[in-house]
Symmetry: C2
Subunit: 656 residues, 2 copies
């Protein structure tokens, strides 16, 4: 069931009307005026979402024997303080003190400069190169009232274009400077704006009746998986590598959400945390995927200012070093096959590598699966190698070891610096700080110990400062401490695993699938079709009695019972609308199959099966038709193979 089969150009407005009319989703609390960034899924959207999640669970969790966990969304402050979210999970915003309006700083700069460039082009009499598909930006730009046909100096045009190319990379203060430099004001009123300030995107609340325990709604599901690492490793009988997975809602308090399902404040995520030996990131099943051909947009191409895709196999991509390691590559290929399975158009899917300045300092490599929509290329799945960062920070904060201990095949002899402390003398000397000083010493790295050992040997003492005892320089001589290189035989290797994290935004994926599967019948642009794959379509079968004649009712009942027993989701439409109208309604709902019950059905229990995209029909017995539906829907059989034994049928009633 391919898309883009229509000669009628895609219209986002038409799609949005269909999605609203069929209640795939709608703004939450609409009768109260709505809240931006919050959406409810109606029955077909909800069923589609459940089917996508079910497919995800089978494709990843069951297929790979992952350990699924369900962790709470409410999270105490301390956890996100450690993970870095309290300090860094923020966007920059500018306030207009007069109107109370709030703007996201990077979006504001982008919109204003783009509007000025457009005005410049118009003034120069050049045709604007409007990217046909980016209707969203068009709408946004309309809001910028200051679009005036003013010609800009050539240098300024070049400057603006340079800024726009790097717009994702600016810090808040840098954005503030740009706003000042280019005299950017409230586009609606022309009024002045305050300098950008940071706005943390986590929703906060208080846990418990005292109001003392600050908590957040998680902005991702990952932390719950990291915190349960030791329990999961134990559950897995200490075997490595292994993956955990989690499907659940996350929350981000976006500054000014727009673009429908693409930027929302509450959303469904599916995340995998694959824990792997940092010294061996090979994957046992990599061979199964190595020939999968993908479209890559690597970082060096982007840095060179280009968008040209590299088409190659994932095997080659790993071999050449473009993709960091086999495990990362394996997941990239599996992400691809999942997306195709649920209806993504492969020609509108690319894997974009993060550039150095986008990536967290600890990450080894990161690729986003981006889907092309009328809003541009949208990041729908992230796939990052997060190294040992998360486990390390939580371990350091809680003093709980989050490590793997592996019996070495043979004992190894190692030389290492060790620190020996005269505990009894620490108490009298440091009193309440004794524990802190001891802990500081025991947490030094081998390099640091080497330096300290040298200092101790050379000067007979060491001196240092500890952040939590700011007013004191600590001095220790050999009466208190000894640091020496010792030789040890080790039987066990202890290491903190690295984490490969594929992270899926289900709502964004679903929206992209809507765009990729939506088209209108060439013979009638008002007849829209949502060509969802049968596997994820909300309803698989529409049962249509040809008329409301009583004779047909027993057959409808019997066939309903059979479909219910086979657990094939179906709907009956016995309304008085014409057959064509009833099918048209269900084409919009993405229902892949229609079964028509007519007066011949009463005689011999034969029925007609209609395929949504081609409107082809075949005829056969109840049993054979239901078997064909099952094979095509759940076992990936094609329409022509699935219906090969059935009789082609020329509609007796037409489809119009």
């Amino acid at each position: 069931m391919s898309t883009n089969k229509s000669t009628i150009p895609f219209s986002r407005d038409t799609l949005e009307q269909v999605l609203k009319r069929r209640f795939f989703f709608a703004p939450s609390f609409e009768i109260y005026g709505g809240v931006s960034g919050l959406y409810d899924f109606g029955p077909p959207g909800c069923a589609l979402q459940a089917n996508v999640v079910d497919t995800w669970r089978k494709h990843f969790i069951l297929e790979e024997d992952m350990l699924e966990v369900d962790c709470t969304m409410l999270t105490p402050h301390e956890v996100f303080k450690t993970s870095g979210h309290v300090d860094k999970f923020a966007d920059w915003m500018c306030k207009d003190l007069k109107t109370g309006e709030i703007f996201r700083a990077d979006h504001l700069v982008e919109e204003v400069l783009e509007a000025r460039l457009k005005g410049d082009k118009a003034a120069r009499g050049e045709a604007t190169k409007e990217v046909e598909e980016d209707e969203d930006k068009k709408k946004r730009k309309k809001k910028v009232k200051e679009i005036k046909n003013i010609k800009l100096p050539d240098e300024e045009v070049a400057e603006y274009e340079n800024v726009l190319a790097q717009i994702d990379g600016f810090s808040g203060p840098q954005l503030g400077e740009l706003i000042k430099k280019y005299n950017i004001v409230n586009p609606g009123t022309g009024g002045p704006l305050e300098p950008p300030i940071e706005f943390n995107l986590m929703f906060d609340t208080a846990i418990g009746p005292s109001g003392q325990m600050k908590g957040y709604l998680r902005p991702e599901t990952a932390q719950g998986q990291f915190l349960n690492f030791s329990k999961l490793l134990d559950f897995n009988n200490e075997k490595m590598p292994f993956a955990s997975a989690s499907i659940g809602k996350s929350f981000r308090n976006e500054i000014s959400p727009r673009a429908g399902l693409l930027r929302v404040r509450e959303f469904l995520m599916a995340e995998i945390e694959h824990f792997v030996d940092p010294e061996d990131k090979s994957h046992p099943r990599f061979d199964e995927v190595k020939d999968v051909k993908l479209s890559f947009l690597p970082k060096d191409v982007q840095v060179a200012g280009s968008n040209k895709l590299v088409e190659t196999t994932i095997g080659e991509a790993v071999k050449s070093g473009m993709v960091d390691n086999e495990t990362l590559g394996y997941f990239i290929a599996r992400i691809y096959s999942f997306l195709i399975k649920i209806g993504v158009d492969s020609t509108r899917l690319r894997f974009r590598q993060h550039m150095a300045n986008e990536m967290a300092h600890y990450a080894a490599d990161c690729w986003d699966a981006e889907l092309q929509t009328s809003h541009g290329w949208i990041e729908c799945v992230g796939c990052a190698d997060r190294s040992a960062y998360d486990l390390s920070v939580h371990s350091a904060r809680t003093n709980e070891k989050l490590v793997v201990r592996q019996q070495l095949p043979e004992p190894v002899t190692v030389e290492k610096f060790e620190v020996e402390i005269q505990k009894k003398k620490f108490g009298p000397k440091f009193r309440k700080n004794a524990g802190t000083v001891e802990k500081w010493l025991l947490e030094r790295t081998q390099c640091e110990l080497e330096d300290l050992a040298k200092e101790l040997k050379d000067t007979g003492k060491i001196s240092f400062k500890i952040a939590s005892i700011p007013d004191e320089t600590i001095e220790l001589d050999t009466e208190f401490i000894n640091i020496e290189k010792v030789t040890k035989v080790e039987h066990v290797r202890e290491f903190t695993p690295n984490v490969i994290e594929p992270s899926f935004g289900i709502g964004r994926i679903i929206y992209s699938v809507f765009e990729h599967s939506f088209w209108s019948r060439p013979e009638d642009k008002d007849r829209s079709v949502l060509s969802l794959p049968p596997l994820v379509a909300p309803t698989k079968v529409l049962l249509v009695p040809l008329s409301s004649h009583n004779d047909l009712q027993p057959i409808v009942k019997k066939l309903s019972a059979k479909l219910r027993k086979e657990q094939i989701p179906f709907k009956v439409d016995d309304s008085s609308a014409s057959i064509g109208k009833r099918y048209a309604r269900n084409d919009e709902l993405g229902t892949p199959f229609g079964i028509t019950i007519d007066f011949d059905s009463v005689k011999d229990e034969s029925v007609t099966l209609r395929e949504r995209d081609s409107t082809k029909q075949v005829r056969g017995s109840f049993e054979d038709i239901v078997a064909a539906v099952r094979e095509i829907t759940y076992n990936g059989v094609s329409w022509s193979n699935g219906t090969a034994k059935l009789t082609p049928f020329d509609s007796q009633s037409g489809d119009a």
Copy 2:
């Protein structure tokens, strides 16, 4: 697979150890010290939960063609203000200003009085009638330090007992009086307590960057369904009755959560809102369930101070008027069959009716499915007839009609009072209040209009006050207004549907199923078994190669591939532990089937199938064994029928 098959008494401690050891669930953020009332589900708990939800979806949504929706958890203040949650969704708490401790007032009174009664019994030399199963209360009472063997006056004993019998019915001020009257203090320190104050159980947060829009995390999923009523009715082609349903997390900021999964701050709910004509609450499928026999605890029995169950069919219960109507009765029966299907012990399930003082004023009738556990009888499913309350209040607040309009079979002539307003004169007279006065008049009921019409006729004018214009008495004469009885022909009937609401607490149900299915093998109390029904068991099959010999590996691989293709969740245990140990581990995980691969399997691809509860074994081919597993697990076939064609097998390795 029946429970209670062991002669070894149930021990909650043993169950809790098993659930923890096998990571069914664990306190969230445990390495950070945990947060009370928050739990994470580990892999088996998560799979069990997913299977319970999947069964629920099929049992209710698919079977009854309900409209599933997925609404946001974040909810603006106004919605819960209207629903009554902002004002009434609260518990009463007492603070100890010295220690900062906070007590839930009703629990405190209950614990202290119970402790005193116990001390009294001891002083009188009477044996305390300890309810064997209520270990939780025992633990709580231990915390009450003031248990002293002091004999109380007989009247005081009677008073305490009377208070305890009504403990769920006291208001906050009443609890405050009891605390004063009985001199109840902080049981730990003896220090004084502040009078009870209300604590709202909703978590609050701010939506958007301005911090101006107050929001809450929903404490139930229902409101989202009510707010979407008109869209759902439209989606259902205006047909009535119909039901919506929702599965998702809800949040309650409990004052002092305890009792594990039974009282938590974040929990999974599954709720149905069945919209029905208030004048016809019959149910078309009631006949299918009318003979289901249930245990009822009706309100009059409770009011009479008894716990004696009434055993009767749901058909009789509705006929006698004990259960208000057929639709409510239908859902009670369907709740019963769902609970049995997922492993609830029918002898420990009762339906308790709410007494008049427990029920909201608008509710017509309400029954809770209660499950008996070591914590006592626990409310796990509520089933209430909420009348037209919710739709009415949201409609009144938003001025959006939330009604059904039905074409009458024949036009009817009605007499009704109507108010006629001289709009043009309202503006000059009332200025900015004109709209408010007009709205007030148009919203009067027929009874109110009748009174006003009389006043107007008798005195030539009407006068009234409006809450939102407090300082003014409004007077209107016939120049401004006319109120008269008119005769009208109506073709359409307009009504606000009533709502029947079955509401499931999934975590509580799962915990009760744990207790109902847990037992220890009589021959060895350390060998525990979770007799979960195969349908919901986390893993269906354990694959056990008899030894780690290389010859067995290809068979393990082949069988794994087959099970994966059939989508039967399974695990391989090829560890070096003995067969018996490996099975014991999986008995604790509730895995219903074991397949042993031995050296005969290499020769003829035959394998042995073991049943968890009986440890019976049969032998057959791959195909036949997998077919048997599928039939028993998913099609409700019994072990003896499912394995009738297979060969009984005497263990060659024993189960020990």
